[in-house]
Symmetry: C2
Subunit: 338 residues, 2 copies
DNA sequence: TGCTGGCACTCGCACGGCGTGAGTGCCAAG
DNA sequence: CTTGGCACTCACGCCGTGCGAGTGCCAGCA
């Protein structure tokens, strides 16, 4: 177990390195932090910390920088999430307040988060699986062509074109629309399937094929079409990464373009509470020199999607975590209102 | 007027510089191209071209590189758009063929274009103004709350929440829905306003306020909500820009994040035919060292939106223009089919 | 008049040696 | 266990040099 002071030294190293982006030495440390000991002592502590793998030197006889393991210890034990100032909170609220629809909410959130953290922001659209049905609409576009429109409580709208096996009359359509809505409105997606299973039986034999087709399309939309979408922003902040550019930035940009990768990334995070993945903890290779801070958000008490930021492992964890948490809360609030 | 050979020299300079990314000298030129004259002659020609402002030397006694003006002359007079190979065409077609909805079409297009040109691709969603109405749906969510859903022939779906001035019955709603659709389905957006103007008169006095509200929301959606959306991709290709990184890439990433800037950029392009804006011809400062190749595309013969790529001024213009034009054609085709 | 080979000149760039200084590890004393 | 002292180590920046690609000019030739 590391002594109290050694942890303090680690904390100081992380803070200084995050601030200056330069390896930090024993002398500079004692000058900037009142540790109450001499540089020589700090050197001993540093040697111990290095032994344990919490810090490393880029070159012999240069200062130390934290390792992934060091950052991990820092966020787990040494860092308190920094709450935002109240002007900041107000700014967030005002900024999100003006949103007119779901796209706008997500768009504003992503810009806000990018600006606040000065890093790359990722916001997942509220997931379909956990939300509830607000309305199902059926439109007859042609005798044997129906459009299914699904509206969710988070304001998301999905539409599907359906080619029916047989012509389907207006009255049957209205009947199906009414029955469908009376059964599923207000229900969570996961609960829908058993509720509509027996619907075909209520119809004439000739219509049953179409009803089944519509139902299966609806279920597909609910389940399979839980293909999550997301929005990213603040990629320009990547230029602040480091001086050794192309090598660092390239794989990150590539990873960000692969929505699949990002979705997996967010998916791996805990469902509740904040998740911080540091450097090599990220499965995707391109993100090995970045950290991802993510958290779930939702309209009710429950999380329906996740948002977060991607930045260099050398980031201001307390500040970033504070911003991410605050934004998630406010977005949840906004979603609940609309 | 420049002699035939001098134009030929300019063409050779552009081609070589695009290929090697290095200033090109007289000797190298004569070696790689059979100009039939000696380096000394080429030197004289280069001096003349420099005099006219078509090329410049980065440092005294280094090779020449084309100026914006030089590229302009090149694309206007010296370059033929390079048609794609037929395997490439087939690949485009196959890749776009599988799209399931509008988002998917746009997403695939942007990835395709980025991959093909190895640059940043920008695709505008089909504009609302020029398309036609496929269906208007009205849903009663609460006694005085109506949702308006607009479906366009390009597959786009827009929804709006409407708070009614007075409760609005199901029958009135059905009535309005029927009348509305019979008048506007198949119409171009621009033609809709006069067609619905007198609709309120057909309703009871108590409903007129609501009908007016719905109509004005619809018109707003049609016109004001022509706020174009767009999708970008291939930002990772920016890393191939140059060696003097952060300075070059930063403003470009920033510009790309501002959808407004991009929309203006595409808006400035000609409505028909391909537009190439080179370096400082771009109004936005961050894009002064990039060129933008854009073209309109549409489902019918007419353009409904634009797409293009953003790359370094030092780009393969013939190839890029060929790819952009080909992709635009195929997308138009796909849109017409669906 | 226009093209060519020759020639002297320029200057960016890569290379190698050198001095500097921040930072380290070790040690002996408090 | 802490502290001051001390010798050692490199990364980094600076500078001078040589090289070579490229230029401009000029005189000769078709």
């Amino acid at each position: 177990m590391l002594s109290e002071r050694r942890l303090e030294v680690l904390r100081a190293i992380v803070q200084d390195y995050v601030g200056t982006e330069e390896p930090v030495g024993s002398k500079a440390l004692t000058e900037r932090h009142k540790l109450g000991v001499s540089p020589a002592t700090v050197r001993n502590d540093m040697a111990a910390l290095e032994e344990e793998g919490y810090i490393a030197q880029p070159h012999t006889s240069a200062g130390r920088i934290p390792t992934d393991k060091g950052y991990r210890l820092f966020v787990d034990k040494l860092a308190a999430v920094k709450p935002l100032s109240s002007p900041e909170r107000r700014a967030i609220h005002n900024f999100l307040e003006g949103a007119v629809d779901l796209d706008d909410v997500v768009g504003r959130t992503v810009r806000l988060l990018a600006q606040l953290t000065r890093q790359v922001a990722v916001v997942q659209y509220p997931s379909l699986t956990r939300s509830t049905v607000r309305h199902v609409e059926l439109l007859s576009l042609a005798p044997a062509r129906v459009m299914l429109v699904l509206i969710t409580d988070t304001g998301r709208v999905e539409q599907r074109m359906i080619d029916c096996p047989a012509p389907f009359g207006e009255t049957s359509l209205a009947d199906l629309r009414a029955r469908l809505n009376s059964r599923v409105v207000g229900r969570r997606f996961a609960d829908v399937p058993p509720l509509v299973q027996d619907l075909p039986e209520a119809f004439e034999a000739e219509d049953r094929g179409t009803v089944s087709t519509v139902l299966s399309t609806l279920l597909e939309t609910l389940v399979e079409e839980t293909e999550e979408r997301l929005m990213i922003g603040g990629t320009a902040n990547l230029t602040r990464f480091g001086h050794d550019f192309p090598l660092t930035i390239r794989p990150v940009l590539e990873a960000l373009e692969e929505q699949v990768v990002l979705l997996k990334l967010l998916g791996e995070a805990k469902d509740s509470g904040m998740t911080v993945r540091i450097g090599h903890e990220n499965a995707h290779e391109g993100l090995n020199s970045t950290s991802v801070v993510s958290v779930g958000y939702g309209s009710g008490g429950e999380a329906v999607a996740k948002l977060g930021v991607v930045g260099p492992t050398r980031m201001d964890y307390p500040g970033t975590m504070g911003a991410v948490r605050a934004v998630a809360r406010y977005v949840g609030q906004i979603l609940a209102e609309s």
